[in-house]
């Protein structure tokens, strides 16, 4: 790809080749973490960046590429995704017997993975919608990548219900399509509600994500167009990787990368021309979308929880499930956002100026809050099992989950899954009570990793431990995953990472326009936005 920039001087300054401008930098604005004084707000963009710098930084990720790590990374993740695809093919050819399912445990890793992924998919819309309504300006640094993550997670989630039906060629029967049998689906089944909830969520999240990107596509289009008009675009070049014993191989393609950019980003931008009359309708549409996505995001995981809560299986039949699932989804989703963005912050140049410690600290606080909510839900589930006087329910919690099999004859063989869940989800986020931990990216990343593991185990505990011992002890059976189970799940991790790496390479990773709008340089009533002293605050 062409490395040439229209403004060479600015590029060099951003790359650290020229000294930073001296105007009000590092000394007076701190490191971006939250400060004790509630009256003063730390800036959302550090490093004394101007409006133009924000464009340069974000568009630079697409125009110059993310660096040498990207190609090996995507080759690895795409290979893992390929293994997952092979597993799905094997499953379809052979049948669901290739999974470790048995008569007692009919839902296991498939539905665990589905709920795990769909839960991760909740942070994106939460950040975009709920934080937008709450006027949390800091969301602008993370909302685009979180929305992307949402969509990719929902794509991974959608695979599992699709393939777990066994005869996948009948999957169309979940949709209300007229058919020759003259039958319709059962709208009183929560499984069908789930179909509508998840497909609506995927569609609305995609529309939200795409709408947010329209102005940024226009920025990328205009920059490419400008370079083409100035005649400084190079031809696209294909180069073989550098090898010690080979001459450098490479040749030019008969097309300029900026031509491709101008066409592709131009098509996606739909002819956006930054008109303020358009911006007015755009902001209106964005606000209303945020307003309708807020109940949507709360409804989706509630409906997923109905799959369990409306049944009579002890351990599933609980009224606390909808809020408990939603809190867990937000918790797991934020953990995944942090898991992806903390390494990205190190790998991409200048990203620390846009994604500051303050953003990480805020997200760590959300992890602490939602982790504690989840912990409260765990204890409340236990309390209700005892308080309801329902013997089966209490047995499920005490002897299927909590008490290890080495402590009691009736103890749970899956005790380690339960205690992994408690340790990762409830105990590990408690380190965020300490400010030093909240502002240390390594600690945040480690906790996010633990939370991601813990949230997978939460779903495993709910699904498998509840099923493996039902009402008749003669039916009790353990579940053991097969290699197909494991590799299918690993494959979806690869698919998720592949999609996210493609996103980081080709789409604007930050909402350029939204960041500019929350900068003081973009405020017409701020001296940094050009306001004179006499009219400051007069509007």
């Amino acid at each position: 790809m062409s490395p040439i920039h229209p403004d060479q001087k600015n590029t060099e300054r951003l790359a650290g080749l020229r000294p930073q401008a001296a105007a009000g930098t590092a000394t007076d604005i701190g490191d971006g973490s939250l400060i004790e004084d509630p009256a003063s707000e730390p800036p959302l963009v550090l490093g004394g960046r101007s409006i133009q710098d924000v464009t340069e930084i974000v568009c630079g990720y697409q125009e110059k590429g993310p660096g040498k790590w990207w190609l090996p990374a995507i080759m690895t993740s795409a290979s893992v995704a390929g293994i997952g695809q092979l597993m799905i093919l094997y499953l379809i050819i052979t049948g669901v017997g290739t999974w470790g399912l048995n008569n007692q445990v009919g839902w296991a890793w498939d539905i665990t993975n589905f709920v795990f992924w769909i839960g991760i998919g909740h942070a994106g819309t939460l950040i975009s919608a709920i934080l937008c309504l709450l006027k949390q300006k800091w969301r602008t640094a993370v909302n685009r990548s979180a929305e992307a993550m949402t969509i990719f997670a929902v794509m991974c989630a959608g695979i599992f219900p699709g393939i777990h039906v066994g005869r996948i060629w009948f999957i169309w029967m979940i949709f209300p399509i007229p058919n020759s049998n003259w039958i319709w689906p059962n709208f009183r089944s929560p499984l069908l509600w789930d179909v509508f909830a998840v497909s609506t969520y995927a569609t609305v999240s995609f529309l939200f994500w795409y709408m947010g990107m329209i102005p940024d596509f226009a920025t990328l289009r205009d920059r490419a167009d400008k370079r083409l008009r100035q005649g400084i675009s190079g031809l696209m070049r294909l180069e073989a990787p550098e090898l010690p014993f080979m001459p450098r191989l490479g040749f030019n393609l008969p097309v300029r990368s900026d031509t491709l950019r101008a066409y592709i980003y131009g098509f996606l931008a739909l002819g956006w021309r930054a008109s303020s009359r358009h911006w007015h309708r755009y902001e209106n549409a964005y606000l209303i979308l945020a307003g309708i996505s807020t109940p949507l995001v709360l409804s989706v995981h509630s409906i997923v929880s109905f799959d369990f809560a409306t049944s009579i299986v002890p351990g599933w039949h609980t009224t606390i499930f909808p809020p408990y699932f939603v809190a867990g989804a937000i918790f797991g989703g934020f953990a995944m956002v942090l898991l992806l963005l903390i390494p990205a912050r190190e790998l991409f140049a200048n990203m620390k100026d846009l994604l500051t410690l303050r953003h990480l600290e805020n997200m760590a606080k959300i992890l602490l809050a939602t982790g504690t909510m989840v912990g409260f839900a765990y204890s409340m589930e236990f309390f209700i099992a005892w308080y309801s006087g329902n013997q089966y329910e209490f047995e499920v919690f005490a002897f299927n989950r909590v008490i290890p099999d080495w402590m009691s004859d009736r103890g749970a063989p899956y005790w380690w899954a339960y205690w992994t869940m408690i340790g990762c989800n409830v105990i590990s986020p408690q380190v965020f009570w300490f400010r030093a931990m909240r502002t240390n990216p390594m600690v945040i990343w480690s906790v996010a990793l633990l939370v991601t593991i813990g949230m997978w185990f939460e779903r495993f505990v709910i699904i498998v431990t509840s099923l493996h011992r039902a009402f008749l002890p003669g039916e009790w059976q353990m579940f053991f995953p097969t290699w197909v189970d494991i590799l299918t799940f690993v494959g979806t991790l690869g698919l998720f990472l592949t999609l996210f790496l493609l996103f980081m390479r080709f789409l604007p990773m930050f909402p350029i326009a939204e960041i500019k709008a929350v900068m003081p340089e973009g405020d017409p009533h701020d001296p940094r936005g050009g306001a004179k002293h006499d009219d400051e605050g007069s509007h």
Binding site: Q52, N186, P215, S276
Partner: protein, 200 residues
């Protein structure tokens, strides 16, 4: 935005002004350096009584609607229409399929009971209002429109980066080449450019 931009053969009003070469004029494009400059210039243009003009900025400038005196959009009503359509479709679909056309008993429950139909009714209402929000916004904005006279200006390409513009169109009844230029210059424009209509 004009209908003739979308429908070929639709009668096009002849341009009121032409350059010396005979090219029809789209309008005047004035560049401003800061959000505050363009904000105050917009107030001046509004007070001068122009109708066909617009502010172009890389992000929505806070309060620019008041400075421009533009009316509130009707978009919320379009989205409300989408929501009502979605809700009615969902209710109609579920009652027709499960209570009229193919009645079957599940757990002895009445097929006319409404409770079970709530989740899908909500989801379809959200789905259609989201479509209405995006496509309604695009339709009211006259997008997609890939070609526009303004894109001929190389300076204008910075409107999605860091520059602020006001464009006053020649079809505005108050447009007068000399007076409008003078007014824009007085409003603090750092650069003024004449934009011709794009030639098909």
């Amino acid at each position: 935005m004009a209908i003739s931009d979308y429908i070929p053969f639709f009668p096009v009003k002849p341009a009121p002004f032409f350059t010396e070469d005979g090219a029809p004029i789209h309008g005047l494009l004035a560049q401003f350096d800061t959000p505050a400059d363009v904000y105050h210039a917009a107030e001046a243009v509004r007070d001068a009584g122009y109708k066909h003009w617009d502010v172009h900025a890389p992000f929505p400038i806070h309060g620019i609607e008041e400075a421009m005196g533009s009316r509130r959009t009707i978009l919320p009503f379009i989205i409300g229409g989408g929501a009502i359509t979605g809700v009615c479709t969902a209710i109609g679909m579920q009652y027709f399929m499960n209570a009229i056309d193919y009645v079957f008993v599940v757990q002895g429950k009445n097929p006319w009971a409404w409770e079970a139909y709530v989740p899908i009714t909500f989801e379809l209402g959200v789905l259609l209002s989201a479509f209405a929000a995006l496509f309604g916004m695009l339709a009211l904005n006259g997008l997609p429109r890939f070609n526009h006279p303004l894109f001929q200006s190389e300076r204008f390409l910075d409107s999605t980066d860091h520059c602020y513009f006001i464009c006053i169109e020649a079809r505005d009844p108050a447009f007068d080449p000399t007076k409008t230029i003078a007014a824009l210059r007085e409003a603090g424009a750092s650069n003024i450019e004449l934009i011709e209509e794009s030639q098909a």
